[in-house]
Amino acid sequence: MSDTTVKLSDAAIRRRMLAEFWFYFSQNRGAVVGLVVFTLLVVVALFAPVLAPHGAATQYRDALLLPPVWQEGGNSQFLLGTDAVGRDMLSRLIYGAQYSLFIGIVVVSIALFGGIIIGLVAGFFRGWVDNVIMRVMDLILAFPSLLLALVLVAVLGPGLTNAMIAIAIVYQPHFARLTRAAVMSEMEREYVTAARVAGAGNLRLMFKTILPNCLAPLIVQATLSFSSAVLDSAALGFLGMGAQPPTPEWGTMLAEAREFILRAWWVVTFPGLTILVSVLAINLMGDGLRDALDPKLKRS
């Protein structure tokens, strides 16, 4: 990737890299399917108020626990049935997409931002700074992520915001480690030495020279974390520590629906299925991204 000729303008290089990236990405059928599903998800989330037939919290008191439309007793007004207080399942799932995407974006942004700063500092300064930071990261990684997130949420108080913060804190060491490793290998490259000789300051070196060159693994990790964040926040919701009802977050919906497991399969099945499909789509995309960004795997 780095052997492009110097004569090309920056923009041209970027265009060419993008084209190359898209070529490899589109080779992967799964990735394209994932991208399509994910795009759909984004569209659904963005236009939820338009698409949803009912409000997420509107209760139809005379339509409690109606089955989906194709089953006996279903009502065409509620395609996927209703829940225990007569809210439309389909509408709640549609609004739920907003939450899941929001959770993914927020968690990844916090973890990415924090991780990059910490990793850059550790990898750039080395020495005791590095040692202390990495020990702390090891500490966080010594706890099973869900357990630590659970305790953190218990400390901060149950709720969507706190669940996101907790998950981000738990994910952040992965980004820090990746950044640090990438920085350390980049530091030895000639262009960094050259930039240093040319009188670039620490900050400039860190953010303008080194960071852009270790983005690839971070992007892959970010996609992975995005899907894990959706899963873990749902798990927290399921354990009653995540988003609180009546928020139509999918995991919370599952937790609320658990008591109906034997009586109303649809309130249990659909939220889980939407979680699975969205996470799967993001992971498919992640696979495609990795293949397209990782030159080593490209070869084989």
Binding site: Q59, R61, A84, G86, G157, E259
Partner: protein, 535 residues
């Protein structure tokens, strides 16, 4: 092929089980809800713990008559009460045998020393058994106000014990029928002390009850065996097993699969399917509980009874009973449940009438009202889903122009913050009775005394007239007189409306068709000495 071999295993397992059952003993399996905290009833407060300890293993001086909240003789055959109501002399039953286990074989029958020991270890901080496990406390003994009530306990002779009280207390006989007052063996305690294994009083219990304790695998199984020497009617089953299964859906699955014979607390949502199942029977009765929304009656505009009344009329109680309790509850109009004596059925509930409510609010000059509704973070029988309840109330209130915001806290915080004076908002909570006495509801939840620190009056409602009535009832031992007083107190309550009373949830007990003789307890206890299993 795979299917074949699997079903073969299943068939042979079933054959084996039924063969074993016929040849061996009658084994009754109860899918219990929670792990017992320990097997000494005194230090704990959870009903699930008492079902595993106090009820099968131990007895008390007085007992609740099965299926009622009436007191009947237990280890005390009879008792005399002095004129002024402060001296209780108990005549103990003779020939009651203690259980035995590997480490202990009793050399004597139950006697007065055991009674004295059982109470003194709770009341006397200097008793060597007061702190026999680090951190042990006697919360029930304390919260039933026993330390300030009991002046002395004397042994008259081996089979006579006299309790002297500081003041007359009508509910005393019911108090000592409660689990915390279970009688433990003094001789066993002495043996354990000599061996330096005090904690075994809590791990390997010895009692006088219908079942002897066999083994406990933490969070999984408790095993009991029938006590052949039981002084009362001997149990009809030979082995009693508690299969600990916290999740209600899983419990029901196990019941349907025949893995257990009886379960507590089915999810309201499953009631219909249980009714429809031919292999199951469903017992039901109104629970001894109440769920309520307590306004803060010290803060404007909620200090105005008319405003409280108006809000009560804005909330659709029936809708809550349907959506939250799935119909498995009786809408509440009084603070005490209808199964309790002195329940005033003549009282009319406030109607659900948003129009009238709106008019009333306007009349009182309340417009653009914003309030908070506190929703508990935990499930209780009296409130299966506080969130859902709060959401329904929120919707209803918005229709009369009241903007309600739902808040919640971690459970411990919820309990303490909701008792802070000046609290912002109305609190969802409830109560389950301990001993079937109305005082246990009204005094604990609504008297002036309990409106302060450490009390449980979350409406901070202090009504002189109401509190005086309660006080009068407490020192009266005649039940008919007490009933009249409590009925009057309920009228004051309804008129002043410190709460929006929600519902008394129905208690359901699903069991296999093979089970007979199970008696539901209004106190929510699960006891099995009368239970039998058909082949």
């Amino acid at each position: 092929m795979k299917y074949f071999s699997r079903s073969l295993i299943a068939v042979s397992a079933v054959a084996l089980m039924s063969a074993a059952a016929a040849a061996e003993a009658k084994t009754f399996v109860y899918c219990s809800e929670a792990s017992p905290e320990g097997f000494d009833p005194a230090p704990y407060t959870a009903g699930g713990t008492f079902d595993a300890s106090a009820h099968p293993i131990y007895n008390r001086l007085t007992e609740f008559k099965k299926g009622t909240t009436e007191v009947e003789p237990g280890l005390a055959e009879s008792w005399d009460v002095s004129e002024d109501g402060t001296e209780y002399t108990f005549h103990l039953r003779e020939g009651v045998k203690w259980h035995s286990n590997e480490a202990f074989t009793p050399s004597r029958d139950f006697n007065a020393d055991d009674v004295i020991f059982s109470f003194e270890r709770q009341s006397d901080a200097d008793n060597p058994w007061h702190q026999y496990i680090p951190g042990v406390t006697y919360e029930y003994y304390t919260s039933m106000a026993m330390p300030s009530l009991v002046k002395s306990i004397e042994k008259i002779d081996d089979y006579t014990v006299k309790f002297t009280l500081n003041q007359p207390e009508a509910p005393f006989l019911a108090n000592i029928a409660m689990a915390f007052a279970s009688i433990v063996s003094k001789e066993y305690a002495d043996t354990l002390e000599a061996a330096g294994r005090q904690e075994d009083l809590n791990n390997m219990p010895i009692g006088t009850g219908p079942f002897t304790f066999l083994a406990y695998q933490k969070d999984a199984v408790i095993r009991y065996r029938k006590n052949p020497d039981y002084w009362g009617t001997a149990p009809k089953i030979d082995d009693l097993i508690f299969a600990i299964t916290p999740d209600s859906a899983v419990r029901l699955q196990k019941l349907k699969a025949g893995e257990c014979h009886l379960m507590p607390y089915p999810a309201p949502a499953d009631i219909e399917s249980i009714r429809a199942d031919d292999s199951l029977t469903l017992d039901e009765q109104p629970g001894l509980n109440v769920g309520y929304l307590a306004y803060n009656t010290t803060v404007a505009p909620f200090d105005n009874p008319k405003v409280r009344k108006a809000l009560n009329m804005a909330i659709n109680k029936e809708a809550i009973v349907q959506a939250v309790f799935q119909g498995a509850a009786e809408p509440a109009k009084n603070p005490i449940p209808p199964t309790m004596w002195s329940y005033n059925d003549a009282i009319q509930d406030d109607p659900y009438d948003p129009e009238a409510s709106k008019a009333m609010l306007e009349e009182e000059g309340v417009t653009d009202l914003s309030m908070k509704i506190w929703a508990m973070p935990v499930q209780r029988p009296y409130m299966p889903n506080a969130r859902r309840t709060a959401e329904l109330m929120q919707e209803d209130l918005s229709k009369v122009g009241v903007n309600a915001e739902i808040v919640s806290y971690e459970w411990g915080e919820y309990l303490s913050k909701s008792m802070e004076p000046g609290r912002d908002g109305a609190v969802l909570l409830g109560w389950t009775g301990d001993n079937g006495d109305p005082d246990n509801f009204l005094s604990v939840l609504l008297s002036c005394d309990s409106a302060g620190d450490g009390g449980a009056n979350r409406a901070f409602w202090c009504n002189e007239e109401f509190s005086q009535l309660l006080q009068d009832a407490k020192v009266t031992s005649d039940q008919a007189e007490r009933t009249a007083i409590y009925e009057q107190a309920q009228e004051v309550f309804k008129d002043q409306a410190p709460w929006f009373t929600i519902a008394h949830s129905t208690q359901y007990v699903p069991m296999s068709n093979k089970v007979s003789g199970f008696v539901m307890s209004p106190l929510g206890d699960f006891t099995f000495e009368t239970v039998d299993l058909a082949e």
